[in-house]
Amino acid sequence: MSVPAATATMDRLAAHFHRRARCRWPEPIFWLGVLAVIFALPSRAAIINEALIAGLFALSLDLILGLAGIVSLGHAAFLGLGAYAAAILASQGFADPLLGLAFGAGMAALVGLVSAPLLLRGGDLTRLMVTLGVSLMLGELANRNGWLTGGADGLNFSMAPVLGLVPIGFTGQRNAALYSFAVLFILFVIARRLAHSPFGLALAAIRENRLRASALGVGASRRIVAIYTVAAAYAGSAGALLAQTTQIVSLDLFDFHRSADVMLMLIIGGAGYLYGGLIGAAAFIVLRDVISAATPEYWEFWIGLALVILVLAGRERIAAAPRRLIALVAPRVAPRGAA
């Protein structure tokens, strides 16, 4: 290929990726809509706050699962770590929320950085087991070191107002939701830039075919460690937010079901395009609220059923559902395909 042609191809590619990275019109509407919901439903602020934090947690899983294709059954490790780091800092008298947020994210990132090399060996099953094992170990560590974490009793602490102005916590649930919203928005924008950066494209290459990526000079190891650390920081921030806005930390933050739930949220919303985690988390929290209001004990059943159907129907084919719906309603209009 001659040099001008190569440059032209490069230009076209660059233009293509630039176009893809641009902000599209539904995005501001989405964020304004979320903001409107916070102001419109002050009585439901607590659950909105929970959904926002769950969205951040699911976003962090999307960074590793959706972008880099790394499965994890122990993502709750970083949620718990961030929550406990923020709570312990607050209980020691450093009550500033932003300081606690940074500390929680930092601690989670540190553990993510240290544990990420474990993910580089073996297959998916090994990764599932390693991540699960790490989260269980951290949970046991929190359980055994009651002098620091309060053990099964949890911790008692109070938070100062955000930036010294906006009080959060039980009395200011709407402020808490706004605080979570602001953090989520900022971190989302960063994640979005990351996903469209050369680094994000390299991760996509690694996800699709690691061998081929390394043959093209895109080494996997350092990039996987990097994205895992970032994702850990995100999950740590979600944990810190959860601790600060509810002012409760408990050992169940490290539980297996937290890791399973967040995976479920991401799968409901769809992995790989960042909004999936947010939509899935909102759907999950609302669904859980509605179902558990109807049948408080058995709501898990319906979540499980949804999951089984989702997998059996094929997660990829869900995206094609609208078209199939048309085919179902008006079979003569739509071209016939495999049922």
Binding site: R121, G122, L307
Partner: protein, 287 residues
């Protein structure tokens, strides 16, 4: 000292029977079946309910505790599991987590939240002294029964025609099919045996773990997975050694260093994964 060792061995044997089914489905058939504990729960419930509500003696309930989960297993395998044999690990994980989430409320709905106790018959309770070493009769019973199951399973997989067919089907399903082996049937039977063993393990474990309740599938899921991880996933011997190691370490750890608690077994698992991702006793190289 010896008492602790024997207790550990008994616990390990129990873990082996609980996890051996998983080493068939996960290890041999490469299916990440996180719902394994649900089959163990069914077995435990069968024994507990037959004893408490129908007055059937303990030993007589054990065959049912094997057969009913096996039947449930084969139905689920034929209808649902088989669709996901070639699926990605993530899909298998999601699907089986979904099954667990469904199994727990069903159990709570049908049977209730409170743990169902298995009351051992008199001849199995109490302790005896052998050369000055005290051991619970039931522990001894578990060691004998589970040891027999381990031996039978190993013979079944290595010596019988079925075992050879199963290993062939796992190594290369297409070639095995071409050689006239009915791979579908083989997998269905293997899955049924795995589920049945889980049920039997659940029935035997009911007394040791303080009754069967709806949270059983999740409570022991992690333990099963650790056994398979430590033992390596492609052999009964690996699973047996893994379970015994885990059982002894866990019991000894709880006795000698209670402050560390469950940390030991998680630590062993993570270290194992770092040193040998394919398991301690796996043959061949990692995939």
């Amino acid at each position: 000292m010896l008492t602790i060792l024997l207790d550990g061995v008994a616990y390990g044997m129990l873990l082996f029977v609980l996890a051996s089914g998983l080493s068939v489905t996960l290890g041999l058939m490469n299916f990440i079946n996180l719902a394994h504990g649900a089959f163990a729960m069914i077995g435990g419930y069968v024994t507990a309910l037959l004893m408490n509500r129908a007055g059937v003696p303990f030993l007589a309930t054990l065959p049912a505790a094997f057969l009913i989960p096996a039947a449930v297993g084969v139905v689920l395998e034929r209808t649902l599991y088989r669709r996901l044999y070639g699926a990605s690990p993530l899909d298998q994980v999601l699907f089986t987590i979904g099954l667990v989430l469904m199994a727990m409320p069903i159990a709570a709905y049908l049977i209730g939240d409170e743990p169902q106790q298995v009351h051992l018959p008199a001849w199995l309770s109490g302790r005896i002294e052998i050369h000055g070493v005290g051991i619970g009769v039931y522990r001894l019973f578990i060691i004998v029964v589970c040891g027999a199951i381990a031996a039978a399973l190993q013979m079944f997989l290595i010596k019988t025609r079925f075992g050879a067919q199963l290993r062939a089907a796992v190594d290369d399903a297409r070639v095995a099919q071409g050689l006239g082996i009915n791979v579908d049937r083989i997998f269905a039977i293997a899955f049924a045996v795995g589920s049945g063993l889980a049920g039997l393990g659940g029935a035997l474990a009911a007394d040791v773990v303080g009754g069967i309740d709806p949270s059983f599938p999740v409570k022991f899921l992690v333990t099963f997975l650790i056994v398979i991880t430590i033992g390596g996933s492609n052999g009964i011997i690996g699973a047996l050694i893994g379970s015994l190691l885990l059982g002894v370490l866990d019991v000894a750890g709880k006795y000698y260093a209670p402050s560390i608690g469950a940390f030991i077994i998680y630590g062993v698992m993570v270290v194992t994964l770092i040193v040998r991702p394919q398991g301690l006793f796996a043959r061949g190289d990692a995939r």
